[in-house]
């Protein structure tokens, strides 16, 4: 259940990006991307997030998890290809095995949806 560690990291990543104090905007939604190779299970993360967010500024913010597939680079086709699963690392077009992974390991906070409020502190775009 390492999703609890990951959920705590989601909360601290977001909280640290928000300005502290009464000017802090209310967070309505947290959108994260979880690659299928990251080893994180979306349902378990959502469950753990509810626990991790309790008593923090994210207590009322909903978590949205976006899955991203494995993308490999095929030297034969000279292009990137999306895989359907995680158990067969071969180019779907030509069948050449490839360990050159270009996507699927993502574990990131993509964006926040905020209740319209004062501007965020430095460090935030």
């Amino acid at each position: 259940m390492h999703e609890l560690s990951v959920a705590h990291a989601v909360v601290s990543t977001v909280v640290e990006a928000l300005p502290a104090g009464p000017s802090a905007p209310r967070v309505l939604e947290v959108h994260v991307r979880v690659g299928v190779l990251s080893g994180v299970v979306p349902d378990a993360l959502s469950y753990a997030y509810d626990v991790a967010a309790e008593g923090t500024p994210l207590a009322d913010a909903a978590l949205h998890v976006e899955r991203s597939p494995v993308v490999i680079h095929c030297a034969e086709c000279d292009g990137d290809a999306e895989l359907l699963g995680t158990t067969d690392f071969r180019c779907p077009a030509c069948g050449t095995p490839s360990g050159d992974v270009r996507g699927g390991r993502e574990l990131e906070v993509l964006r926040l949806v905020l209740d319209d409020a004062p501007a965020l502190a430095g460090g935030m775009p």
């Binding site: 990951v6 990543t13 190779l37 360990g99």
Partner: protein, 228 residues
């Protein structure tokens, strides 16, 4: 009214930053560092015992950090090799994180070491996303496990730089199907070298030692492991 703010920040950024700092320190000290992951019971500790004993005999300065949810049994077992060993007790946490590694290395003279093995908590799922600053991730599979285990736990076997098959001395008795296992391993990880070992007979231990040490060879190239 609501508004969207792009953040684009790594969730495990803190762990990754500390892991990068460790990796830099390891590189500076010229030490080969591996992170061993497998299910419980694969024989990580037994193989590590054989590896450390062999390293000590051949004059390689090796050390180990071992992670477990509870007890220091493994550290006491491994210390018999004469190599410095330290236990990380995670108190239930299912994987090691880079700050634990950093804390437990704090007063070790890294420059005096050539090889450091970090034995992760026995778990095929949770350790996969946590970088510990290693240069080589080793995933182990024993002949007593199902040959299709790499397909059932693809993330961890995919993330490995080296794959080690353990307990090959009893392969025949447990009707190990090497062909099926290699197919499964190659399907999730087409490139990592696969080494066959037995901690009981010592098979493959020398090859593994060379494989791990090759990660810090001067030109950065990997040596071809010797035939076991």
């Amino acid at each position: 009214m609501s508004r969207i703010v792009d953040l684009k920040r790594g969730i495990l950024e803190k762990n990754d930053l500390q892991a990068s700092a460790l990796r830099e320190a390891f590189r500076e000290a010229g030490i080969a560092v591996s992170n061993w992951v497998s299910s419980p019971g694969t024989g990580k500790t037994a193989l590590l015992e054989a590896l450390l004993a062999h390293a000590v005999t051949t004059g390689i300065a090796a050390a180990a950090l071992v992670g477990d949810c509870a007890t220091d049994n493994d550290a006491r077992r491994l210390a018999r090799s004469g190599a410095p060993v330290r236990q990380i007790v995670t108190e239930g946490l299912c994987h090691l994180e880079s700050d634990m590694v950093g804390e437990h290395l704090a007063d070790w003279d890294l420059a005096a070491l050539e090889l450091l093995v970090i034995e992760n908590v026995g778990n095929l799922v949770c350790p996969s996303g946590f970088d510990l600053g290693e240069d080589t991730r080793v995933a182990l599979l024993s002949v007593t496990e199902g040959e299709d285990k790499p397909l059932k736990y693809p993330q961890i076997f995919h993330s490995a730089d080296v794959i080690v098959i353990t307990k090959t001395d009893i392969a025949e008795a447990v009707e190990w199907n090497a062909g099926a296992a290699y197919d499964a391993l190659r399907s999730v990880n087409p490139e990592a070298p696969i080494l066959e070992t037995s901690s009981r007979t010592g098979r493959g231990v020398d090859s593994l030692l060379h494989q791990l040490l090759s990660s810090v060879s001067a030109d950065g190239s990997r040596l071809t492991p010797q035939e076991a």
